[in-house]
């Protein structure tokens, strides 16, 4: 079978002009027929499938859709050419009629025998041994294509263009004048190769390729949905840069991203790589349904991984079998199941699960950790015998001294009532403490009304109010100045006020008796001079006119109003009780002890268990003034450690759960339908495999990754090579670089793509070698200026008779401006940075509301790929130049040419700042105006300016200088855009005019054009 296939392949390549199934016929059938006569059996009409030979040729009851070599008897042909609207295919209402050209191709194909072939990208990769000897595979195939079309390619590009091309393609940066000059002057035969090698070894190479890879894997610094909160994954970005710079083989690169955490003895790098699995969009939206988002995330991962590595649209099989490729819905869910082990919250904050201290930070952590141990109280006591003895004695005395107080305090708790509901106005909240007291927290308004509900069975004469201090108060009994004014104290049952006869308190501030709390006036109230040093707990008893009886379940409501004109005089902590007492008790001591400790203190020492004794001792150690200095020293170390750890760089990585989430086949993708069968991880059924998944355990992400880079998988190498080709030639060999499937594009040079893919694999997935092979070709080195003949005969450059030309990517536009301005900080990696961004651009983000606060210093001048990537509101300058939001995989950015780009380059402070610094460089050039201008042009374009260009720029210079001479204030204002200080000068008009020249050159198309 295989040999037959190869023979056919060779035959096809030998018979130029013959109809080729994959190139000519499959796209027609896929686009016009497969939706109803293809893979998806649920959508299949008339039980006819045209995607397989068997289906097309089968006997339909005395006739067949296609009879090889027999047009007359092929029902499909009749249906295609008939005038009968009822019989016509595709049906007119489908709005996809066949063109005459397509009909003709189908006619030729049937007449020639209606030969079917495996779709090109699913066919195995087979080396063509004869071609291996050739110096450049690329030139071999490209030349053949041009010769066949009888077209001449354009000549090679000049060295300036070549150098700029290499710099933009390999580094994403403009070529420095010195490099261009050196390259021009180098007459050695390998001058070009040396330059290629040097750039491939430059650390900016990894940054350049990362920009593309990050689009594929949808890397971003924010979660995407709804509140779009930040998430920390920048270390993954740095991993990608480093991987390309280290030339990590593509198979390792693949495995580490999909399953780095599952590798035996995974290194830190590999764990970081596994962060790939956390890059998807997630949500924190309140009310979002966990199950729905689990389904959304599963689908997201299938879409991304299959597009990134396979160039496949398995994601399209979420609701039904794929219509154009042999993927089934089961394949989709089985693929999703590989990722079901990843620990994550469906809805909620993405909490980083890996800390990344620098070496210095790690040393400091180690030091602090050891200091935490040595400063621990136990260690301190072990070292200091005298202190230890004093503490032991103190503890014993304390135990005795506290016993009586503890009993009283416990009694006080027992006779209080546990509130069942409590509210306050003005933003306050209450915390119910263990001793049944309520502690005010939250806002502290000027005035506040408290309402507390008590449920206690029995008959009671009075209500007790204990007002208590707390360690959280600066002093006294309130969170304000320590004093309070209780203007009203009311008791209600069933909405009825129970009149209060009298009130008594343990202490009353002069002029502020507790009686003031039961009269109707808001001018009067109970206060206690709590702001004085001698502040103490106080108690008041409010005696009811009639005793109140509460049956089971009945409630009493106590209202405590603080409506004094003295602001923030609100009781900070209090406890209520129902009682028959008619006078207040002196407040019990033993504050700060939990009921448990109080009862332990009340016990005879010998009755305490060892554990109970330890509890008491621990409390003593934690509170005794004897150890206050030691405790403070220890806490300081603990706080330093916590602060250091909180500020560490972190990373979200994949973490595998023991029990993976259950993956069900969802009918029509409906997450609420729980009737679908449970599926286990499995590889797409129709694609070849080196071996089956192990039967004795569940398939893992590692298994998936190994299959992706396995020998028999025909897609991975094709997909990657095709995309790399696009980076250096402008278009893929198969021009739809996203989808190599049935709805994609047949390759313009199928043999070339296959041979490159095979070579890449056999070279050990060596990315730099693959790239170098492309760069060394004659095809790469051609001029991009098109000849009239090529423009006419090959307008889309499908034969590569010339190089491509395009505007560089958003990040590189920024990098180019910063380079020309001499501002670029070329540090590699680090957490994402925030350059200038218009104020208020984030105003529509919420939960929480936030402001973009731009960085300062060097961080303002980092390369574009380090800019904080917000999915909801991507930096507007990046967006204008087609940077994607990275919500989904982007395998090819559009390259638009829109007015917003002009607005950004003319007016964004980052570009204005770069332009004026560029102007300074131009002004600093030694020589006359023309020489300065000429150098400015050279810095930006690498070439010598023409007289016309110099003339135009001189006119800009002279006009601006005249204007700014008239208005030096404006010159100063212009020269202070951005934070980089302007060079000192007394000639501000001249400086501003040169800045305008810099701005003009920066904005010229050529400056950001790769030719």
């Amino acid at each position: 079978m295989k040999s037959v296939f190869i023979t056919l392949l060779l035959l096809a390549s030998q018979t130029a002009g013959a109809v080729d199934f994959n190139r000519d016929i499959r796209p027609i059938l896929s686009n016009k027929c497969f939706a109803c006569h293809g893979f998806d059996e649920h959508e299949r009409k008339a039980d006819l499938r045209l995607d397989t030979r068997e289906g097309a040729f089968q006997d339909l009851g005395g006739y067949a859709a296609i009879v090889p070599g027999d047009l007359e008897n092929s029902e499909a042909w009749y249906r295609i050419v008939t005038d009968d609207e009822d019989d016509l295919m595709p049906p007119p209402k489908f709005h996809k009629p066949l063109t005459d050209g397509e009909k003709d191709l189908i006619r030729q194909w049937i007449e020639a025998g209606a030969e079917y072939r495996t779709h090109w990208s699913y066919a195995p990769l087979i080396r063509d041994e004869e071609i291996k000897a050739e110096s450049s595979l690329i030139d071999h195939f490209v030349r053949a294509g041009l010769e066949k079309a009888n077209l001449d390619p354009v000549g090679p590009a000049d060295r300036v263009t070549l150098a700029r091309r290499l710099y933009f393609d390999l580094l994403g940066l403009p070529a420095p004048v010195e490099s261009i000059e050196a390259f021009r002057a180098d007459e050695s035969p390998d001058a070009y190769e040396k330059l290629v090698d040097r750039l491939l070894a430059d650390k900016a190479f990894g940054e350049r390729l990362a920009v593309y890879w990050l689009d594929l894997v949808r890397y971003a610094d924010s979660i995407g949905y709804h509140s779009d909160n930040p998430m920390e994954v920048s270390a993954y970005r740095d991993y990608v840069i480093s991987a390309f710079n280290r030339n990590l083989p593509y198979d390792r690169f693949t495995i580490e991203q999909l399953a780095g955490d599952l590798l035996p003895d995974a290194t830190l790098e590999q764990k970081i790589a596994s962060g790939y699995n956390r890059l998807l969009q997630t949500t924190q939206e309140g009310g979002a349904q966990a199950n729905e988002y689990k389904a959304i995330y599963a689908a997201d991962r299938v879409r991304n991984a299959s597009t990134v590595w396979l160039g496949s649209t398995i994601g399209c099989a979420q609701c039904h079998d794929h219509k154009f490729d042999p993927f089934t819905a089961r394949d989709f869910y089985a693929f999703a199941a590989f990722f079901a082990d990843i620990t994550e919250k469906a809805v909620g904050k993405r909490v980083a699960n890996l800390k990344l201290p620098t070496e210095e930070e790690q040393a400091e952590i180690d030091r602090l950790k050891s200091e935490v141990k040595t400063t621990a109280i136990g260690q301190v006591l072990a070292r200091d015998a005298a202190l230890s003895q004093a503490v032991e004695e103190g503890a014993a005395q304390w135990g005795v001294a506290m016993r009586e107080q503890a009993k009283q305090a416990l009694l006080a708790i027992e006779r209080s009532a546990k509130p069942t509901a409590f509210t306050s106005t003005g933003g306050q909240k209450f915390k119910l403490l263990e001793d049944r007291s309520l502690l005010a927290e939250g806002g502290n308004p000027d005035q506040a009304d408290y309402r507390v509900t008590l449920k206690e069975e029995g008959t009671f004469k009075a209500v007790r109010l204990e007002v208590k201090m707390h360690e959280s108060f600066p002093k006294g009994l309130s969170r304000g100045n320590g004093n309070f004014v209780l203007t009203h104290f009311r008791v209600k049952k069933g909405g009825q006020i129970l009149p209060i006869e009298t009130a008594k308190a343990t202490f009353e501030q002069n002029g502020w008796p507790v009686a003031g709390a039961i009269d109707p006036s808001e001018e009067t109230g109970w206060a206690v001079s709590g702001q004085t040093e001698e502040a103490a707990n106080q108690e008041a008893i409010f005696v009811l006119r009639e005793p109140v009886t509460l049956a089971a379940g009945e409630e009493l409501t106590v209202e405590m109003q603080h409506r004094s004109k003295h602001g923030r005089h609100n009781i900070g902590r209090f406890r209520l009780g129902l009682t028959d007492d008619t006078a207040p008790n002196p407040p019990a001591g033993a504050e700060g002890l939990t009921p448990e400790l109080l009862s332990l203190l009340g016990k005879e020492p010998k009755e305490r268990t060892a554990e109970e004794s330890k509890k008491l001792r621990d409390h003593y150690l934690a509170t005794t003034p004897l150890l206050a200095p030691a405790r403070a020293a220890h806490e300081k170390v603990v706080a330093s450690l916590a602060k250091l750890e909180a500020g560490l760089r972190t990373m979200l990585i994949a973490e595998s759960m023991d029990e993976p989430r259950m993956t069900r086949l969802l009918h029509r993708g409906d997450w609420m339908d729980t009737t679908g069968e449970v599926v286990e991880p499995a590889l797409p059924a129709f694609l070849p495999k080196d071996s089956d998944l192990p039967a004795d355990r569940r398939g893992t992400r590692l298994d998936l990754a190994n299959w992706i880079v396995g020998d028999s998988n025909p897609l991975t190498a094709r997909a990657f090579v095709n995309r790399v080709w696009m980076l250096f030639f402008g278009e893929g060999i198969s021009r739809n670089v996203e989808d190599l499937g049935g709805q994609g594009e047949p390759p313009t040079h199928p043999e070339l793509l296959d041979q490159l893919a095979i070579q890449f694999r056999e070279d050990g997935w060596d990315v730099k070698r693959l790239i170098k092979g492309m760069l060394m070709s004659e095809t790469y080195r051609r001029s991009s200026v098109v000849s009239p003949e090529l423009l006419e005969k090959d307008p889309l450059n499908e034969l590569y008779g010339r190089q491509g030309r395009w505007r560089i990517s958003a990040e590189f536009v920024r990098d180019t401006a910063l380079t020309l301005g001499g501002l670029l900080e070329d540090e590699v990696g680090g957490v994402s940075v925030k350059p200038y961004q218009p104020a208020g651009y984030w105003q529509h983000l919420n939960f929480p509301k936030r402001e973009w606060k731009h960085d300062t210093g060097g961080k303002l001048y980092r390369r574009g790929l380090y800019t904080f990537w917000s999915r909801s509101f991507l930096h507007p300058a990046m967006m204008a130049f087609d940077a994607p939001s990275r919500e989904e995989c982007t395998s090819r950015r559009s390259r638009s040419n829109i007015p917003q780009q002009a607005l950004v380059m003319l007016n964004d402070p980052a570009f204005v700042e770069a332009a004026r610094k560029f102007g300074e460089r131009i002004a600093a050039v030694e020589g006359n105006e023309e020489e300065k201008i000429s150098m400015g042009m050279k810095l930006a374009t690498g070439r010598t300016a023409t007289a016309d260009e110099i003339g135009a720029l001189r006119s800009v210079y002279e006009w601006q200088r005249a204007e700014y001479t008239k208005n030096p204030g404006a010159a100063l204002e212009f020269l202070s855009v951005g934070e980089a200080p302007a060079a000192e000068t007394t000639e501000v008009a001249e400086a501003a005019a040169w800045a305008q020249v810099g701005r003009t050159i920066l904005n010229a198309y050529e400056t950001t054009a790769r030719n």
Partner: protein, 469 residues
């Protein structure tokens, strides 16, 4: 490269062939992706039939307005107030924040009255919109697929919850092109004020896989009205002109030697940008509007309010902008739905009315489609004093541009829960809107990921003919 593709080829003719020809996907893709586009986009389709509307103004009531307090009168629900919600309505239904809670009916919190000759029932909190009763068609049987704000907006705008798809404003500009020489064809305005605000992301006006030129351009009420439209400090308009002239001169000289249509486009875009620098500030400056007009809208120049944005929308419409999307946030009434709806309604009622009335007076309503509605509605069940998100039935209204006025279309059940009569899905709404614009939604697609992707998706959807005048 394709950037050499000559602009002399009639793009429209080419596309019409290309979309039915071999390799269409690649050709269209490359064409749009890169250079050689004329400055003003003429549109990818010839109208499939006579268009009734030339432009759309979408007043997005973001957060999910309660249909039960605005457009859908439910006397039976009032009778059920405080009683348990019959389980037959809610079993197995997606629920947002009320998941796992007891479900109790809450009667309508505001009264409704009959208005106009048509006698449409409209809530008393919308007294001005009520005056439009005979101009608007109220669709009371809307339903959507997404129950949380962000995905629901995405669904309403793009027809799918999957990110990265173009929104309707982009689709329409792609299809019909721009009528403006110096303004973008798709403008987004977001009003300030209105209390609690759900976030709203730029993805709601993103062009997705369509070229960036079809992206919505957000206008701001503070700072530069369009990002970067203001000159840098110390640069006068004349100085800017001189720089643009210099840039264009360099580009022209260069193009003389390399003949790259991309450079020609660049020159045109710099001219367009320079024009925008003047036209945008002029456009957003409402101070030249007569007092009676400002009063009619209740607009105060520069306040960024919904009313001011409505007036701005009219000015944009006059200048040929194809799709104008106004967002007013603040309809997310999980609590205090009574006072909340009253407050938010008061912020949008007058501006909405004034816009329709003003368009009518200028004879522009006949070809301007105005849409008023949110991403979903709210539950008949109480969530404390508020209502939760609800997707099975809600209401919007439309006016102008070929819409039959004075009409109530479709209905929810007596509880206002399910759309039970003449249901209208989001895709049906899109199909109807496109129809009014002269586009057959079946025939309006863009090749992406091997599919001919439509705004209306793959499921069956229909033009709601009953709404057409």
């Amino acid at each position: 490269m394709n950037s050499d593709f000559s602009t002399q080829v009639s793009r429209r003719a080419f596309l019409n062939n290309a979309t039915v020809g071999l390799g269409a996907a690649a050709l269209t893709h490359q064409l749009f992706a890169e250079a050689g586009l004329e400055q003003r986009w003429a549109g990818a389709v010839q109208p499939h039939h006579v268009a009734r509307a030339k432009r759309v103004i979408f007043l997005c009531m973001a957060g999910g307005p309660s249909h039960l307090e605005t457009l859908d009168y439910k006397p039976e629900l009032a009778k059920m107030d405080g009683k348990p919600m019959p389980a037959s309505f809610t079993d197995g239904q997606p629920i947002a924040q009320l998941q796992g809670k007891a479900l109790t009916c809450m009667g309508p919190q505001h009264g409704f009255s009959r208005h106009g000759e048509s006698g449409q029932m409209i809530s008393d909190v919308l007294p001005n919109i009520a005056k439009l009763a005979d101009d608007i068609a109220i669709v009371k049987s809307m339903s959507t697929m997404q129950i949380n704000h962000d995905p629901a907006h995405t669904f309403m705008n793009t027809g799918t919850q999957i990110s990265g798809r173009p929104c309707m404003g982009s689709w329409i500009n792609y299809g019909l092109g721009s009528e403006s020489e110096d303004l973008p064809g798709f403008v987004v305005l977001t009003s300030v004020g209105g209390g609690q605000s759900q976030p709203i992301a730029a993805r709601q006006w993103h062009s997705g896989f369509l070229p960036s030129r079809f992206q919505g351009v957000q206008f701001h009420s503070k700072g530069d009205p369009v990002l970067y439209v203001g000159n840098p400090g110390g640069v006068s308009r004349d100085a800017q002109r001189k720089v643009v002239d210099g840039v264009n001169a360099l580009n022209r000289f260069r193009n003389g030697s390399v003949a790259n249509p991309e450079i020609e486009t660049k020159i045109a875009q710099y001219e367009m940008a320079f024009k925008m620098q003047a036209s945008v500030p002029e456009l957003v400056d409402l101070s030249g509007e007569p007092k009676h007009v400002l009063d009619m809208y209740g607009a105060v120049p520069g306040d960024g309010s919904f009313a001011s944005n409505c007036l701005l929308a009219r000015r944009l419409a006059e200048r040929g902008v194809r799709f104008i999307h106004l967002y007013h946030r603040g309809w997310d009434h999980h609590s205090a739905v009574k006072s909340g709806v009253e407050k938010t309604a008061a912020l949008v009622d007058r501006g909405s009315w004034a816009l329709v009335e003003d368009l009518k007076q200028r004879d522009m309503l006949k070809d301007t489609l105005v849409v008023w509605g949110g991403e979903f509605g709210r539950t008949p069940m109480a969530q404390g004093t508020g209502r939760d998100h609800h997707i099975k039935g809600f209401s919007i209204w439309m006016a102008g541009g070929g819409i039959k006025g004075g009409l109530s279309y479709g209905a929810t059940d007596e509880m206002g829960y399910n759309a039970v009569e003449n249901g209208v899905s989001v895709h049906d709404f899109h199909a109807t809107m496109l129809h009014l614009l002269g586009i057959d939604h079946h025939r309006f697609s863009y090749p992406f990921q091997g599919l001919d992707v439509r705004l209306t998706g793959v499921e069956k959807s229909r033009v709601v003919k009953e709404l057409l005048a």
